[in-house]
Symmetry: C2
Subunit: 206 residues, 2 copies
DNA sequence: TAGATTGTTAATCGATTAACAATC
DNA sequence: TAGATTGTTAATCGATTAACAATC
């Protein structure tokens, strides 16, 4: 929508706005103020208005924000109005849990295949192909894929990510306990459970 | 160790230092400079030194840092030298994946039990009790438990967290797609996969 | 009209970066 | 000694907060 550089700090809050607006919407609430949003999300009203203003003026002075309008705007800003295809690489426990993760539907993401070096143990699921990693090149050349979900051991995470990137994948969702980062128009989000657990223990040790 | 307030920004980096130091240690590297750390972690050397100075001077002017010494110091700062017990609440796909998550050993965390409203479908795992949620009160009164891992649906996440908190649990590791936060000496880390996926899609849509 | 609330600019705050004396 | 590198203070930068005119 806009092309000024949005800070990581703001990007972190965008999904929270969207989630809250969905809640309001399903409660049939029609209007909301920056004050109300700020209270619910534990931030300041100034911050809410500043954040939203990065993408345009969605409110009405003296009135507030129209819930449905702002929800749709946020959905578009986040890119959730478009359908995205994904493959899972690594059929271990996390990989398996991800394949059947129901939340994908909310984000308009469709998992089309799961790859592993050893496919026999993998449960088949309707709509999801189970393939050997050796099929990766062939599969990606035939099936446009937006997101690769990396759930292999940390030793293989980087090389697998690079392999799919070289095959044209532009988004990496990484679950291996290692920070991946690529330049060149490739985006990456790391879910590092191990780091999160360490932070929890750190905080609980004070 | 220290009791000045450490910013969330610094806390986020602590596990990364520790992880890197473990790597150096297993490669038999004995000394490291803030410059080398900063390059590996994609931050500045100033930041590394500032961060470490929050907890004390671990280096030697002109020489750098002793890897083993700094690694041990970080381990202690993070609280990983002490054993922690945990229970998993919710035996769905994520819960099941977590029970057998190997990474717990690295953080000195031991999962002792998993609770669900319906326990028949749950695989038993050596050392992990499978119990009905109705046993929660009884179990926690008998077994000192540091961490509750919440992997129930978002509708039940807050109430389950409050229930274990009222029973004395002080740390919540939340996997439900909702932000939990408690005052009163209770710490919480949220792993919000849904938000992470939205941020990935946002970034890929630019 | 009076009250509420936005969009927007200015002030404040905190985190990052730069600089450098001390020292190995 | 010369080069490297810390601990630490000062400068810079960016994000958050405050303030307020415009307006419904």
């Amino acid at each position: 929508m806009e092309n000024k550089q949005i800070s990581e700090r703001v990007i972190e809050r965008l999904p929270k706005y969207y989630r809250y607006l969905k809640d309001l919407s399903s409660s049939q609430i029609e209007r909301v103020s920056s004050k109300t949003i700020s209270t619910a999300l534990n931030i300041t009203a100034s911050q809410v208005r500043q954040d939203l203003m990065h993408f345009g003026g969605f409110g009405q002075t003296g009135i507030g924000y129209d819930v449905e309008f702002l929800k749709s705007a946020m959905q578009e800003i986040l890119g959730l109005n478009k359908r995205h295809t994904a493959i899972v690489i690594g059929g271990g426990r996390i990989g398996q849990a991800l394949i059947s993760y129901k939340g994908f539907a909310d984000e308009n993401v469709f998992v089309t295949a799961v790859f592993d070096v050893e496919t026999e143990h993998l449960k088949t699921l309707s709509g999801v192909s189970v393939l050997n990693v050796s099929e990766l090149e062939n599969y990606l050349s035939l099936n446009k894929t937006d997101i690769a979900i990396i759930s292999v051991q940390k030793e293989y995470a980087e090389q697998m990510a690079k392999r799919v990137i070289s095959l044209g994948v532009k988004s990496i969702w990484n679950f291996a306990p290692i920070d991946l980062n690529f330049g060149d128009g490739v985006v990456c989000e790391n879910i590092n459970m191990s780091e999160s657990l360490m932070r929890l223990i750190y905080k609980s040790s004070r």
